[in-house]
Symmetry: C2
Subunit: 746 residues, 2 copies
């Protein structure tokens, strides 16, 4: 049965890849428009490719360095232990390092392809908008879907392929294979962290820099071609939002699959011992996560293909996207039910399969709740954003105070939802087996909930990449000075793109939260396997564990500080460069009078921000990688004498409290930033006086309320697009690094 | 021996109270200056007294309501259990409610007296500054010392008095008495929370409102008598910084004494069982915390009396304060060593006493480290504040980004120090007894470290109250338009006051951190006593505990949001009122031209902010009180079926992770706010162009860099003086409320 299941997963993944290739060809067939538009698009393309090339060189260098350390750590420093899954240290080092390198390379590739398609879809979306909103919508979504499908299919293929490889050559008991391929998830998160950090610093430094000198100082609109930083800004959308997010979601799906497999295997083994064995056997249960995800890919594809506008283009594009999404969810859940019935059926515990099916539903409902909460806190129809706009009337200080208030407040509802989801899926899983059997399916229940949430990940990722594509399309249309009606179309798409970006960020935090608990448990299971003794608890009342927990929380704060400060510094460099370019322009009443032949030097801004982002991503990235290693090793050396597992337990404390703090801080940063952004947009719709005040004598002056809101928007930029998304990766990286390094702490 | 020890503690406390009375009389003998100064001082006095009266009415009402609930909960709802320390539910309810009410009343009284002395010392400090800096310094410090001594002595007197009372009438085994008087700490924190919240909202709403319309819109200096909000601002310093902080430190010392007594009693009992009994007996060890604190009062008094300037007044006032402080520390440590030798001497474990003495030293060193770290992050001599000033050059947005970066960053060093202090004192305590004895003195070691840190609390508190007194003195001198040389003197004192306020905030967080761990352990000990079974661990890997932990962290975020937003809202109300008063004034080029006879209506601003602060303190206060109760009871009802202690364990998770998040968030808010404040002050010294730019033609314009720094300063106000200090109380309230309600969760 193992072989058939593996083949099935591989077949579905390959199908996903083929569809991605088909969609890419479909997108590329569309016209690339006028020469003026191509010129801009090419400038974006060049900037993005140059950045990604240089970034990947740095990241691959760091990853190789780490791979060597990993190999030496396992192959030379650590001694072979009786409970190790393979016969020698060298073998262990080989498989873990191999999967790390593969995960890292796949993650680099996923990010690159996401950006590759995105910088080609933007110009085609812009061109299509000249004639048909329907075509523009579909190009943007399908362009996004290329990277969505690729990411999900490739992560599945990687995990199942590695599994097949170890199975064929490793002489390992199948249920122990996941322990050897955890490196794949870690390699993926290692790359994702740097990609998201570098891209996030890039995109927001360019954005903040461009906004501050352009809109605020020079008084020119967004995406105005006279702003030297505008191309860097558009490049940023691609390298931050596409490439970074692609790598991020790639690692999520990979790590969570492996974690769920570890839990599934140990549950199924326990069930067999208790004579409640599943009809699909241990391997069937262990493979369940992969099969469920494989079905999800197909459901996502159907949903994506469905999306189109009606003939008259009266439909809201958001509704078209939602329709496709809901269809994908329903289909995915039906398939999920089928998969639970097929693989999680235990003849002696007849309720088990549908209990787990309900866990999957809990996961889906959690993601829906996260999306709604995100909307409430970041859309200007609701109280929070309106209160920020209101506070802008008394200046930037009250705007900032209100925004920070909203950001801090928005964490409590997600915390409640997460808590409820965890407990409900835990107790559903726990009651899957008769109490007398002494078995606990609770943890696997939370894992299945995560799988349910991630079933439609490919669709979500497509919607996410839709954002920067439409953003870029709008920028190209604006910069090439297309007629008003075309701008209206791209503005409509851009607004939808902003919404989808915010929603998918909510989804990403939600999945990080559920997945984190699953990955903790996998860690504890792994420690038990390697140590041959269970870690009974992660006891916060033990001062060593408490200190680990404290350091985990402090890590989140320090990391956020470094990410935010990096943006501030890089933005200042951009501002100085633009000021330099503007210094010699004539001014009337302090307002720059642009000569008709003014040609800004886009390249210098692109270059400055590229260098800055790459330099500044290294320190926070290494901090995250080295902190858990440091804590684990220091405690192991100084304290383990008294308790064999204490270092591993302290690291678990670091991981768990780091995760809790990380999730809440990410929500604070993401939603605070989003709320500031939309408070500004709300004022631009005319609220509180709009963008300009018109005096009785017809004189138009800047509205200081809008000016205050722009300050908030700018502060929110590094929150929501650099530090926040990087924290999602941090959370998962903590999980995967502890999974990979657990054996070293024992 | 019990009686003697109690008498000794009571005698020392009474001595402290007598010295406080003497100092108050000493301060009151000084002149209250000219009529102009008295007019201002009286306005402040009236405003502060009116606010405190109304606030106390609200708080006492809430406390009585809660006392009734407490009595009913223990006396009626909860059934008597075999392990209860007294024979019936009614007795248990009686003692717990009595100590709650006493704690609450003492806390109200401590806050009131702090404010009472402070509003009388400010005018006397101002008057003395007309002639002698030495007198001004001593009046301000001794005025502060009245409230410092009162707080510390009264908390000691309360705990020892209640102990004596229960001992005489309660028919309880002495080691179980602390379980009955935990209510005292909780009553104190209950009041402190509302006092700090209400006062904090008041002070910063007035400050932000006054600054925004005054400095920014009307262009008049700080503390200018033409600003209608300026009296409210000065009132705020008294009700927020004096009354609030007094109540806060009162509850700290009370709660920590009781917690340390619980741990001491259980350690000494275990030692007797292991034949390692202390020569001072179980009671001696249990009384150790009280004795150590009693000695600390005397040391603080000596330090305070020493402070004076040299004849030529060339000495920096800060140095004079530091000299007194160091002297107090050395003296306190010597006495501390004596107390450990006397009460913690175990003939069979000869190293025990000096191990614990070293723990005390660790506590002192920790507080010193916290003070230095605070200085590094908030003084403009160092990189962090300078980077904020630098970032102000590109506008308010980059100023805010830099400030938030500094705030988030400043958490890591305190986290490391705290971690090190905990582990070192734990392992010192653990190795106090021979390993073979199977005893663990580690937890008591951390408790002793806390006692060491708090030994000089009275001195610290005097320095803290010194801040608002000198601030007010400066305001009175400014508003009554005294000559330049007098202003210089008060400015010098005010600058020192700002430093001492920042330092004592660092000290308060440090003590909250160390104390928190001590109080967790007391909680676990208490649960064990009531349940008759040990809580083996606070196991974060259990999803129920994990959810408790998650909610604890979310509570901190939500509470901070509410506190910050309350300030924003109340400040907006002030701004609108001032704008209303300014609306009809003549303007030239948008600059208000104040008529010579302009009389602002101070009273209306005082009234608006009083109402606003009182209304807005209730919700966040109740949130903190009700969340742990809610979590404990919900989990008890729904989940305890499977594990008797699970609800108590989940509450412990909430408490611990809430504490970790709370400490880091408080550091973020306090130091971020302090850094913004000083970045503005740094620019005002002339850096980056200073306050005004002078053009080539001699035209003076506002420096936008300074304007940007003022935005940051304003944002930082509610951070550092409302939310941050309230979080200190929140942390301790969580500990005391769980201590008091633990029996209800079992």
């Amino acid at each position: 049965m193992t072989a058939q299941l593996i083949l099935l997963v591989i077949a579905f993944s390959v199908f996903g890849l083929l569809v991605a290739a088909y969609l890419a060809r479909w997108v590329l067939r569309f016209s690339t428009g006028s020469e003026a538009m191509q010129r801009i698009s090419n400038a974006i393309k060049e900037g993005a490719e140059a950045f990604l090339r240089r970034q990947n060189r740095t990241i691959i260098g760091l990853a190789l360095l780490f791979a060597i350390v990993l190999f030496l750590g396992y192959g030379v420093v650590r001694e072979h232990r009786p409970f190790d899954p393979v016969g020698s240290s060298t073998q262990l080092a080989f498989w873990i390092t191999l999967s790390f390198v593969l995960g890292a390379l796949c993650s680099v590739f996923a990010g690159y392809v996401g950006m590759w398609v995105s910088i080609r879809s933007n110009i085609r979306t812009a061109t299509a908008a000249l004639s048909s909103l329907n075509d523009a919508l579909r190009i943007a979504l399908r362009g996004g879907a290329v990277s969505g499908l690729l990411v999900v299919a490739m992560s599945l293929l990687g995990v199942s392929g590695l599994y097949a490889l170890v199975n064929a050559f490793g002489h390992v008991e199948p249920t122990k294979i996941p322990l050897l391929i955890v490196g794949y998830g870690f390699g993926a998160s290692f790359v994702a962290l740097f990609a998201q950090l570098g891209g996030g610093i890039y995109t927001k430094a360019a954005d903040v820099g461009a906004d501050l000198v352009g809109k605020v100082e020079a008084g020119i609109p967004e995406d105005d071609p006279r702003n030297p930083a505008v191309v860097a800004d558009l490049v940023g959308d691609n390298v931050g939002d596409c490439a970074g997010r692609g790598a991020d979601l790639f690692e999520s799906t990979a790590a969570e699959n492996i974690g769920a497999m570890i839990l599934g295997a140990s549950l199924a083994a326990a069930a067999e011992k208790a004579n409640l064995g599943f009809s699909a056997g241990v391997i069937g249960v262990m493979m369940f996560p992969l099969v469920a995800r494989a079905f999800g890919i197909v459901a996502s594809i159907v949903g994506i293909m469905m999306v189109r506008m009606d003939k008259e283009e009266k439909l809201d594009p958001m509704e078209a996207l939602n329709r496709g999404y809901y269809f994908a969810v329903v289909l995915a859940m039906a398939a999920f039910g089928g998969a639970t019935y097929w693989l999680l059926n235990s003849p002696s515990a007849p309720q088990a399969w549908w209990h787990f099916f309900l866990c999957g539903i809990v996961g889906v409902l959690t993601s829906v709740a996260f999306v709604y909460i995100t909307q409430y806190y970041t859309e200007y129809r609701y109280r929070p954003v309106q209160s920020i706009a209101e506070a802008s009337k008394t200046g930037p200080a009250t705007n900032i105070i209100a925004g920070i208030g909203v950001g801090l407040e928005c964490t409590w509802m997600p915390a409640l939802v997460m808590g409820a989801a965890l407990l409900v899926s835990y107790f559903l899983g726990k009651s899957a087996f008769p109490a007398a059997a002494g078995m606990n399916g609770g943890l696997f229940g939370t894992a299945v909930a995560t799988m349910g949430m991630l079933a439609t990940a490919a669709y979500i990722l497509a919607m996410d990449t839709f954002g920067p594509i439409t953003d870029n399309a709008g920028g190209i249309v604006e910069m090439s000075q297309q007629p008003e009606e075309v701008r209206k179309k791209t503005d409509r798409l851009d607004a939808v793109g902003n919404t989808t970006k915010a929603l998918t960020k909510g989804y990403a935090v939600g999945s990080a939260a559920l997945a984190a608990f699953l990955l903790f448990q996998a860690y504890m299971d792994e420690v038990a396997q390697y140590a041959g003794q269970r870690m009974e608890a992660v006891n916060l009342a033990n001062p060593v564990v408490f200190v680990g927990a404290l350091l985990g929380a402090a890590l989140v704060f320090l990391f956020s500080a470094m990410a935010i400060r990096a943006v501030g510094k890089a933005a200042q460099a951009i501002i100085e460069e633009v000021r330099r370019q503007y210094a010699k322009l004539p001014r009337v009443h302090d307002i720059i009078q642009f000569p008709a032949d003014f040609k800004p030097d886009y390249g210098s801004c692109v270059d400055i921000v590229t260098k800055s982002a790459l330099r500044k991503m290294v320190a926070p990235g290494l901090l995250v990688v080295l902190t858990p290693i440091g804590v684990g090793l220091v405690f192991k050396v100084f304290i383990t004498a008294q308790d064999k597992l204490i270092a591993a337990e302290a690291v678990a404390g670091l991981l768990m409290v780091g995760t809790i703090t990380g999730i809440l801080t990410a929500l604070f940063l993401n939603n605070g930033g989003g709320a500031w952004d939309n408070a500004k947009k709300y004022i631009e719709t005319g609220a509180h006086g709009g963008k300009y005040l018109i005096a009785a004598d017809g004189k138009k002056t800047k509205n200081p309320t809008h000016g205050a809101a722009v300050v908030g928007d700018t502060v929110g930029d590094p929150f929501k697009d650099t530090a926040g998304p990087s924290l999602h990766v941090l959370i998962k990286l903590l999980s995967t690094i502890t999974l990979v390094l657990a054996p070293l702490f024992i």
